[in-house]
């Protein structure tokens, strides 16, 4: 076992007739590849929070005038920023693949009278939207269109 679970996990509101040993975490908790993937997925939260704050910094600079903007854009060439954005890209791709994979089955079979499309169609739509949004957004930001 990989150590104790929460001492009250699955405990009844009134104790039973005999004393019980405290609940344990599954032995596979840290070591299993699925669990590590899951923990990595939760850990991308740190990266997303930082990505949001960096986006805030950049947009804030755009409102602060040309000098601040140029300095901010120049600062993104710092190797640490590049490294952070490489980690960010890996995180975003990982989150997209895992979350979009789960997304179709989380759709209720019916919301009122409306039925969602079949799961493979939802999945294909998500990937198409992801690709489309990325290409469009990148093309606009990179000056290839507009």
């Amino acid at each position: 076992m990989a150590g104790p679970a929460h001492p009250d996990a699955m405990a009844p509101s009134k104790p039973g007739k005999t004393r019980t040993a405290p609940p344990q975490m599954p032995a596979s908790w840290w070591s299993h590849p699925r669990i590590r993937t899951y923990l990595a997925f939760d850990a991308t939260g740190i990266v997303y929070l930082l990505l949001g704050l960096v986006a805030l910094r950049v947009v804030w600079a755009l409102g602060a005038g040309p000098e601040v903007w140029d300095a901010t854009i120049a600062s993104l060439s710092n190797p640490l920023y590049i490294l952070f954005h490489v980690i960010g890209l890996v995180s975003v791709l990982f989150v997209g693949v895992r979350f979009f994979g789960f997304f179709p089955k989380a759709q209720p079979p019916r919301i009122g009278p409306a039925k969602p499309p079949p799961q493979p169609v939802i999945l294909a739509g998500l990937y198409a939207a992801w690709l489309g949004v990325t290409l469009l957004f990148a093309a606009i930001l990179g000056g290839w269109i507009f």
């Binding site: 929460h6 997303y48 990505l51 954005h85 997209g96 990179g142």
Partner: protein
Amino acid sequence: MKHFLLRIEPVIWLLFGQGLLIGTMLLTGWILVVGLAAPLGLVDAAALSFDRAHALASNIVGRLVLAALIVLPLWKGAHHMRHLSIDFRGADRDVVVAPVLYAVATIGSLLGILAVVRL
């Protein structure tokens, strides 16, 4: 505090979900160009010049997209960090961790909205 966290859970979950969905879609292109291609010199410097960036960002669509780009990842991040804290035997400290994370996301969101409004 526990009761308050329960009350706001649906709102948090909606913002978190949109962070996963829209946040991921917007961040991919953003990171590719602003985070990587431009700093590595793969993009014409004029593309991210102040004048062009300001013109692109200051219309209504630009403002909305940038607001989403800032706000949604913050909530996805805060909520996932809360889950991560709970994964590491953190249920009992959650009454402190969750409000702090959501406070960061709230302040960041307000600043983000201010940032796009003042463009």
